[in-house]
Amino acid sequence: MTAEKIQFSAPGLLFLALLVLFSLPAPLRAGEARVSGQYLSGAGQDIRLQITVASPAPSTLIVIQNLPAGTVIETSSPAFHQYDAGKGEGKWLLTQVRPGRYLLSLRLVHPVAAGAIGGEIRYKDPASGRLTNLPIRP
């Protein structure tokens, strides 16, 4: 065996040491839930709303859609859990939420003008239990 054959690679060993260092378990920190909403289409006959959920995700979201009073809905995907046509307020209930993107859409019988609608996301932060109301504007 030659001297060279038993040489350890110094960078390799340092890399190994760093790997071990960063592999040690770190204490988990409870973070605030991160949820956001954005209208992909906020006027006309087709309303599309995208909800983005990052980790840690709340288990349940209530998404409230405010439309002009008396608005008639042709279709809703997913179906509204509540809709009060007189107030123009509809609610989606999203359960077993996981981090990711959710697309909610509505087709209205008559188009609505830009700025005539708005929304809100309600959820409880899984770490603090605090109720959060997050407004969404087109």
């Binding site: 260092l21 349940t60 209530i62 409880k124």
Partner: protein, 325 residues
């Protein structure tokens, strides 16, 4: 090229001129046995050195060989020839036996290049050992069960005959898994139903539920459904007690903290403010608390129906809730 090289462990090696050694030995009338005795190797080794062109041997042996031949070491070393590194290590086992390892103190210091590499290797080894030590300390520090707590989450009220969920969270500062016995004593007029995980039911008065489990990751959740007997008087208060035992031989049961009483009521258990409807916050609270327990059937459908409606009321005759649209 240098004629001196290092073997594994920093042993200096030199190439010698086999033909010159034979010639010198024969000129001086020395036998291979004599030379072998002076050097401390076998005659076979001396013969092999002489018959190979440029054998590679330990510098220490070269010094002794030069002494035996009564010449300077420089006279027997081959200068300018490529080293044949495998020559001495590839020798038969007899060579190893015949050339005992030289004590490290007799060796020359390694060249600076190797010294710096050794420092890096030693430093890395020290770092790894330190990390291993810290890991062991971290591991054994959590050997005991640490601070164990059990916390019960229970609705403030429930309607007799309608199942309500109960959650028991066990937490510990210990990092290692350990076994525990969780004991929950229900009010006398309370009937247990589904358990997640499944409990052992002691059908006594009052009824007792037990879980024997292992806690890992510092946190475990035990849940069950129960209901007050239909004939339970409204507004009556019902007490729950319980505790967790860890290593029952050593420790007494640790009493359960959190909610411990429930009132019989016309209002649904999810309607926490008893206003006759389930609002957004109540719905979210229920789902955030109980929704993560897979398979626990706490009546989601009814809760969602009430939430989506204007309200509800209890019908004592049908023993069910009426949804108000």
């Amino acid at each position: 090229m240098d004629s001196e090289k290092l073997l594994a462990g920093g042993i200096p090696m030199v190439n010698i001129d086999g033909a010159r050694i034979r010639r010198l030995r024969e000129e001086k009338g020395l036998t291979q046995l004599y030379v072998a005795t002076v050097v401390g190797v076998t005659t076979d080794t001396i013969s092999r050195w002489e018959n190979r062109r440029y054998p590679n041997i330990k510098k220490e042996n070269a010094v002794k060989l030069a002494e035996a031949l009564e010449v300077q070491m420089a006279d027997i070393i081959e200068h300018g020839q490529p080293v044949t590194p495998a020559e001495e290590p590839a020798s038969p086992p007899e060579t190893t036996a015949a050339e005992p390892a030289t004590p490290p103190s007799a060796l020359p210091l390694p060249k600076p290049r190797f010294a710096s590499q050794n420092i890096v290797v030693l430093g890395a080894a020290f770092l790894l050992l330190s990390l291993a030590g810290l890991t062991l300390i971290w591991w054994y520090a959590g050997d005991s069960e640490g601070q164990v707590t059990a916390f019960r989450i229970l609705p403030a009220h429930a309607t007799p005959g309608i199942p309500f969920p109960v959650l028991i969270e066990v937490t510990t500062s210990a990092s290692r898994p350990f076994s525990l016995i969780l004991k929950e004593t229900l009010p006398p007029n309370c009937i247990p139903a589904q358990g997640k995980p499944q409990f052992v039911f002691q059908e006594s008065n009052p009824p007792v539920l037990k879980w024997i489990g292992k806690i890992t990751g510092g946190h475990a959740v035990y849940s069950y459904l129960a209901k007050l007997k239909p004939e339970t008087e409204m507004a009556s208060i019902h007490q729950f007690t319980g505790g967790v035992t860890v290593r029952s031989d050593d420790n007494p049961s640790i009493p359960m903290a959190g909610a411990d009483s429930l009132q019989a009521s016309f209002f649904h258990w999810a309607d926490s403010n008893s206003d006759g409807r389930i609002d957004d916050e109540e719905l979210l609270s229920v789902y955030e608390t109980y929704g993560g327990i897979e398979g626990l059937k706490f009546g989601k459908k009814m809760i969602e129906e009430i939430w989506a409606a204007d309200g509800y009321r209890w019908n004592q005759e049908t023993r069910n809730y009426e949804i108000l649209q």
